[in-house]
Structure formats: structure tokens, C-alpha cells
Amino acid sequence: MSILRLLASRILLSALTLLIVSVLIFLILEALPGDIATRILGRDATAKALEVLRSQLHLDQPPLTRYFHWLGNLLHGDFGASLATGRPIADVLGPRIVNTLLLSLFAFALYLVLALVPAIIQATNRGKAVDNVISVITLVLLSLPDFLLATILLFLFAVAIPILPALATVSENSTWPEMLRAMILPATTLAIMMAVYAIRVLRDSLIEVLRSDYVRLAELKGLRPAAVLWRHALPNALVPALNVTALNLGFLIGGVVIVERVFSYPGFGTLLIDALQLRDIPLIKATVMISAAVYVAANLVADICAVLLQPRLRTR
């Protein structure tokens, strides 16, 4: 009962957050003072071109009307038409989202392994050489900008030792092995970038849990070390890591922008950059809304997982 209510209130809050996101995006893109058309086309644009753009964006209508019109369509799943191509945005988005989803799933699977294994090794060998070595590696990787890490991996595995393709160009005709091979480098970049954050948090929380009273009692009950780790320590240590994972999913959406660009992967991220470069306002609004929705949904899932892992939260 209470868990359903908790769920309902979280979903309601998420919806509210997305509503505010839509207001913010609209305010930033369309309600700033000054003429939008001039801002898009630049000061040298002809009066005619400006006029065409204004009518395309319905700038003759008051902002409030435009906002509710856009929101109404959004709720029906209608993102409008792209300014640059005139095609319905939903059609443009579809295949790109599928590509990015595949990439993200691959990256996420890698992430779980890359985060869990080092963290457990570190926490159970606290203060020893392994712990320190992993800490240093994590710190260095944490300090590498994603575009640099992507470039380094590309240089290493596509230029210096050419075993993988430098460009992850895939199309509808690509076969599965081709797709996977193309995705190895971008997915690895994303997974490493996410994992370095999670490793530190997971290591610290695992160490804290290993010091807790209930882990000590579990040891003093005479349980085997493996049982103590898997049954008592890990489930409780995962909770802070879950929050990081949710944050990481938010990062993933931003990260794909960079990584797809470096490897020319035809996904959602490259679409966003294209839209920004072409100042394709409807497409920008749609892509940003979708990325915010993904982030909010990821947080919702993380919240629910946290409740499942920590029964204590249920009655709050």
C-alpha cells in the first residue's frame, strides 16, 4: 500500500519536474528578449528570410499561446517539423534513438562490470597496493575529458594498432557483428567515463558498510566471509552507488553527444549537435526534452531500486 503511494508520488513529482523543464527550455529558446529570428539567422539576414522564419515558428502569436500549443502537441507525441528539412521530427528521431539506445545498452553492460569488480577488489583489500593502484588509475581516468579519452582510444586501437574501425558509421544495412565491432570503442569510452565515478562511491560505501555494526554481527554469527559480503554488505552498499548510476545515466546522455561526434556514430547525440549548428529550434526543443525525460526516468528507476534494496525507506 505505502509502496504504491510512494511510487505514485514519485511519478507525480517526475511529471512536475518535466513540466518545469519544458517551461525552462521554452523560456531559454523562445522567450528571451529580442527577436528570435534575427538571433537564429544573424544580423545580415534578409527581411524576407526573417519573415519566412517568423511564420514557421508562429512568432506572430503571443509566447503563452505558443508554449501551450507546443506542450499540447508534445503530450500527443507530436514534436512538430524540423526547420532545416521540413520532415516530421518524430521520423528523424526514431532511428537515431534506436542507435543510441543500442550504444547505451552496450555501454551500460560494460559499466556494471567495470564499476563493480574494481570497487569490490578495493574495498576488500583496503590500504593494500591493489587498492592504491586502482585509486590512481581511477583518478587519472576521472581527470580525462571524454573527448580526449575517446581520441586516445581511437588513436590506440584504430591508428597505432589498427584492429577496430575509427569511424562507427552504421546504417540500417549493417549486420549485427558489424554493429558490435563499430560500437566497441564508443561504448568503452562511455563505460569508463561512468565507471570511474561509481568505483569511488561504491568503494567508499562498501568500506563504510563493512565497518557497520550489522556486518560485524554477521561476522560474529560465524557466517562465511562470502555470505557476509554478498548477503549483508553489498546490498546495502549499492544504494549510494545507485544514485551515482542515475547521475551517470544523465551523464550518458551528455556523453553520447561527444562520443558519437568523435566516432561519427549516427545517433541521438550527433542529431542534437546538427540541430544546434543549424539552429533548428523545434528539433533542439524535442531532443532536449527527450534527454531530460530519460534522466528523470533513470532517477525514478534508481529511487525505486533504492526502496527495494532498503525496506526501511518504504514506510517513510
Binding site: 518545469i20 523543464v21 538571433r39 575529458p145 573527448f147 580526449l148
Partner: protein, 290 residues
């Protein structure tokens, strides 16, 4: 949530008692600072000087990072770019910090509907991936402002402010339950007096670590904007922009890319080590995540 509120700092002096990471970080940052200052006044060649040597001729003693496609000396550009990266990062983070901390502390202490509303807006701003938010704001600013340092600073501040607000708010809420805050309220002290006399000093550790953490990430964020072509306007040599410009030379002359890359990475490593040491000294654990 873990306890993130300040314990009183142990005495900060005594170089040999400070944690190793802090020292290493401070040394790296010191070198960067020195390098940046020298770069403002002297570089081997002009940063926009074309034909400093044969384009694509690779690395040599004259050109330790090689030359770019139009024959500019990459090392000179790298040197001149150092102070730009540092200044933009610092200014953006400070601006974001001041706004975020002020809003967060007051909101967390006052609570009520003001807090409810602010929290929702902060939540919404954080929901937009920060890179997307930054890019959208740059587009919205229009071509006239694009590429201006001031715009980059404001964008960094706006991206950071809600995240800092959240941390400051949580810290303020925890400190607000302390009885010395209740004691001040019972004396009839005003909101600002309580926030700045009682709460701020006791959240200083959290905020300091948060500042350091945000500062570490600023060069990456600014670099990413430059890399994608939405950052500082060329030919000003911001490092992310240089990496992007020279990516075509990756095979012919890798140092044109990895030179600036190394600079960026070492700067961030310096910041991260510094943050690590600082948080250890202040008894804090840095709050992770983008």
C-alpha cells in the same frame, strides 16, 4: 544521506602533515599557474602567427608540439591558451558558487513554499544534461554573444548553480537542526544573521570541497564546448578547441592533439588531487557525480 556537514577543521598548517594528494595537486596547479602567467607575456611564436614553420612538419626542438594545418606553432598556442582555460574555469565556478550557495543556504534554512518551488526548479535544471543545457544557452544567446568569454563564464555558472544549490541546501538543512541554530532563533536573530553567522561557517567545509570539485570539472566542460565548436571563438587557442582543430592531424602529427590533451588532463588531475587532499583535511567526502 551521509553526514556531509562540517566538522571543525584541524589546523591547516604544517606542510609535512598535509595529505600527499593535496601536496601533489598543489604542485601541479602551481606549475600550471606559472606556465599560464609566462604564456600571457611570452610565447616562442605568436599564437595566431601563421607560417611559424612548415605545416604538418611534426615535432622538433623548435616546435615541441608540432605545427597545425595552417602552420601555427602548437606549443605557442598551447602556452597562450593556459591562462584562458584557468581564468574561464575560475570565473565561471566562482560565479556559480556564489549564486548557488546563497540560494541553497537560504532555501534550506528557510524551508516552506520558497524551498519547495526552488527545489523543483533546481531539480528541473539538473534534469537537462549539463552539456545540452550549456549548448542550448549558447544558441539562445545568439551569434552576437557566441564565442565571448563572458558568455562561457555565465554558462558555466548557470550549469553549476543548481548543482551547488542542492549541496548547499542539504548542508544547511542538516546544520539547521543543530541546537546552536535553535539557540540563535530563540534569541530572535534574523534569517540572514542565522544563515551567515551560524550556518555558513559550519557548511564552509562542504562548500569548499564542492567548489574545488566543480573547479576540477570546469576545464573539461569548457573544453567540451570548444571541442564541439561552441566555445571561445577562434583563433583564441582554448585547449578543447585546439584538440578539435588538430584532430585531422592525429596520424600525421599526434602531438598537436595530445599536447593540449596532456595539458588539460594534467590540470584536471591537479585539481582532483587538490580536492581529494582538501576533503581529507576537512574531514569531508566529496560528493560525486556530474
Amino acid at each position: 544521506m551521509t553526514a556531509i556537514v562540517s566538522r571543525p577543521a584541524r589546523s591547516l598548517h604544517g606542510w609535512h602533515t598535509t595529505p600527499g594528494p593535496f601536496k601533489a595537486g598543489a604542485v601541479i596547479l602551481g606549475v600550471h599557474l606559472l606556465f599560464a602567467i609566462v604564456g600571457v607575456f611570452w610565447t616562442p611564436y605568436g599564437y595566431a602567427e601563421m607560417g611559424a614553420g612548415l605545416p604538418l612538419s611534426g615535432t622538433s626542438w623548435q616546435h615541441p608540439m608540432g605545427l597545425d594545418q595552417i602552420g601555427r606553432d602548437v606549443f605557442s598556442r598551447f602556452m597562450y591558451g593556459a591562462h584562458i582555460v584557468l581564468l574561464l574555469s575560475f570565473a565561471g565556478t566562482v560565479l556559480g558558487m556564489v549564486t548557488g550557495a546563497a540560494i541553497g543556504l537560504i532555501s534550506g534554512y528557510v524551508g516552506g513554499w520558497l524551498d519547495d518551488i526552488l527545489q523543483r526548479v533546481v531539480e528541473a535544471m539538473i534534469s537537462i544534461p549539463f552539456l545540452a543545457l550549456a549548448l542550448v544557452m549558447i544558441i539562445a544567446a545568439g551569434p552576437a554573444l557566441a564565442g565571448q568569454p563572458a558568455l562561457i563564464i555565465v554558462v558555466v555558472a548557470i550549469v553549476y548553480a543548481p548543482r551547488i544549490t542542492r549541496i548547499a541546501r542539504a548542508a544547511a538543512m542538516e546544520v539547521a537542526t543543530r541546537e546552536y541554530v535553535a539557540a540563535a532563533e530563540l534569541r530572535g536573530e534574523g534569517t540572514l544573521s542565522v544563515v551567515f553567522r551560524e550556518i555558513l561557517p559550519n557548511t564552509a567545509n562542504v562548500l569548499l570541497v564542492e567548489f574545488s570539485l566543480r573547479l576540477s570539472y570546469a576545464p573539461i566542460l569548457i573544453g567540451a564546448l570548444g571541442f564541439l565548436g561552441f566555445g571561445i571563438r577562434p583563433p583564441t587557442p582554448e585547449w578543447g578547441l585546439m584538440i578539435s582543430e588538430n584532430r585531422n592531424l592525429l596520424i600525421a602529427s599526434p602531438m598537436t592533439v595530445f599536447g593540449p590533451g596532456l595539458g588539460l588532463a594534467s590540470l584536471v588531475i591537479g585539481f582532483n588531487l587538490f580536492t581529494d587532499g582538501l576533503s581529507r583535511m576537512l574531514g569531508q567526502r566529496p560528493v560525486m557525480g556530474a
